[in-house]
């Protein structure tokens, strides 16, 4: 059965508030999980892991984080790249200082460090909103990148100024360093993404999520119903930064292996992730995934088609990609501000009534 349920048949409040109210969706979700965890690891190769899956998984974590802050709590941030850098450098320092501790712990601790930094840079949000806050977070972006370039302690006084991940393994399989296999990297990132996405979904559907959305939609009304704007905004900054920090740590240690801060975590990264949530859908968990998938797949797709099949020059293809992304952002902002997630919702609403729409 492709789609079902055209009325309200639920008998408990718990059933009414479940994530996938339609049985077909639940089925699709579980099959996707099974494929992702049990099928993909056996067929994945280095090209697919490095070009598509690992960046997708890591960007999805970052997009989830930014979506919590911007999509759910309404606080625009352009500091994502800087916060990812905090995660990366925290992870690097922890990895080199405590080599015997599991990388998983390091990644989570790196998220914790980033959360603390995020709260500090979130403090201005109590006074300023919208465009002005975006500029304040922009300052965070440039300051953090400058800091990691300027203070040699952060990169352990290495001559190149780069940081590179030493080899670490989880359950006997190397996930960082040169010996890493594609399935190990993939599964490590997938497990973290799965856990974080599940937590994000739970947070956004309950009390905290409602507080965030209340602040986003109308902060005065939120205050009048008893929402403390200080703790609410800062909790959004903290949790969002935690996600972004974890993404930064994985991006450095698992995906790239070696990082130069201005190159890997510059302002472009902030924009890239902002574009992901705009195109994917602000205030939507699914949107974070859709946006991350889109922005990771688009260049790969264009490269294969334009360069591989049509024989265009690589630089021309790269420029066309920029133009396409730019046009898409404008189109989405005008035509569908809630992004691909909203298109998906509308399609589903139609499908619920299908094939008898009257």
């Amino acid at each position: 059965m492709l789609y079902r349920e055209a009325g309200d048949f639920k008998t408990t409040y718990a059933a009414d508030s479940q994530t996938f109210p339609i049985r077909f969706d639940r089925f699709a979700y579980w099959s996707l999980l099974v494929v992702a965890f049990l099928v993909v690891p056996f067929v994945i190769n280095d090209y697919w892991a490095n070009a598509v899956f690992v960046p997708f998984l890591i960007y999805a974590i970052a997009a989830l984080g930014l979506n919590i802050l911007t999509g759910y709590c309404g606080q625009v941030s352009l500091g994502t790249g800087g916060f990812m850098a905090v995660g990366a450098y925290a992870c690097y320092k922890l990895m080199t200082a405590f080599p015997e501790v599991s990388i998983l712990i390091h990644v989570l601790l790196a998220g914790g460090v980033t959360a603390a930094v995020g709260v500090v840079f979130g403090l201005p949000s109590l006074r300023i909103k919208g465009f002005y806050l975006a500029v304040a977070t922009l300052a965070a972006q440039f300051f953090l990148v400058w800091l990691f370039n300027k203070v040699p302690w952060f990169y352990n006084y290495s001559a190149s100024g780069q940081i590179s991940a030493p080899e670490r393994s989880v359950l006997g399989h190397a996930v960082t360093g040169a010996q890493t296999t594609a399935p190990a990297k993939y599964l490590f990132c997938l497990a973290i993404l799965f856990a974080l996405a599940w937590l994000a979904r739970n947070l956004t559907r309950g009390t905290v999520g409602r507080k965030w959305m209340a602040i986003r939609d109308m902060d005065i009304a939120a205050e009048i119903i008893g929402v403390n704007p200080l703790t609410t905004k800062l909790s959004a900054f903290a949790i969002s930064s935690f996600y972004i920090g974890v993404a930064g740590a994985l991006f450095f240690s698992v995906y790239l292996g070696a990082v130069e801060v201005g190159e890997a975590f510059g302002i472009q990264k902030s924009f890239l992730i902002l574009f992901m949530i705009i195109i994917g859908g602000l205030g939507s968990i699914f949107g974070s995934f859709a946006g991350a998938a889109f922005m990771v797949l688009l260049p790969v797709f264009l490269k294969n088609v334009l360069v591989g099949h049509l024989g265009w020059a690589t630089d021309l293809a790269a420029h066309v990609e920029l133009m396409i992304v730019g046009a898409l952002i404008v189109i989405f902002l005008i035509a569908e501000p809630h992004g691909m997630a909203q298109l998906w919702r509308l399609a589903k609403e139609k499908l619920r009534l299908w094939p008898f729409p009257h």
Binding site: G206, M213, D217
Partner: protein, 273 residues
Amino acid sequence: MSDGTPQGYTTEDGRRIGGVLMEMKNITLRFGGVKAITDISFDIREGEIRAIIGPNGAGKSSMLNVISGFYVPQEGEVWFRGRRRGPMKPYQVARLGIARTFQNIALFDGMSVLDNIMTGRLTMMKSGLLSQAMWWGGAQREETLHREKVEKIVDFLEIQNIRKTPVGRLPYGLKKRVELARALAAEPRLLLLDEPMAGMNVEEKEDMSRFILDVNDEFGTTIALIEHDMGVVMDLSDRVVVMDYGKKIGDGTPDEVRNNQEVIDAYLGVAHD
């Protein structure tokens, strides 16, 4: 007689009005050189429907904003439930049990009707961040418990059919009703309504009046409201405060206020020499 006895009074239709719930003592509010409110005192008693009326710019909404904590008066004292209230932030006022609606609707447009009303219960939801993140035990139980309470209000205000609709899509009259629902969800001791009937047609006004009376009657909620429709004010309220140019010019039962010469002058205008 309306005021006087500290124990309260009985209304014409036989409702028992209790002691003083909220008392404003000599409130003065200034914005720079402009005096929005000058030395106003009045009280709101347990269980009554208290109206604040006056021409445009009289300072009614400012008064409501003082009560709900948006403005801190330069002079005067605010007493609530027998205690003097220091300067408070609006969210702290909300936790005392004071809820309100706004003149121009202040709903959360991106959320469904149900979620909007659920936000009204945020001050009562206590489950920790961890429990919520896991959606296990406390958080889930709490959600169901509060959902039940919210559903009662949904039934009460007859908005069952729009539960899952995003608020942004609703017509004006329904939005007003959802806003009332959100305020009610907080189970307030004192409910402040800022022009609950502005911009409504006769039928919607009748509905809203009925809801206000029912709220007062069934939940025993004390209500303070600002309204321009005199017919509605006189029918609904037990006592009326009349303001003009930031000053109180009348206070009493609708009948007393109606026959007060100052009030008549303020509303009908009077020749100044």
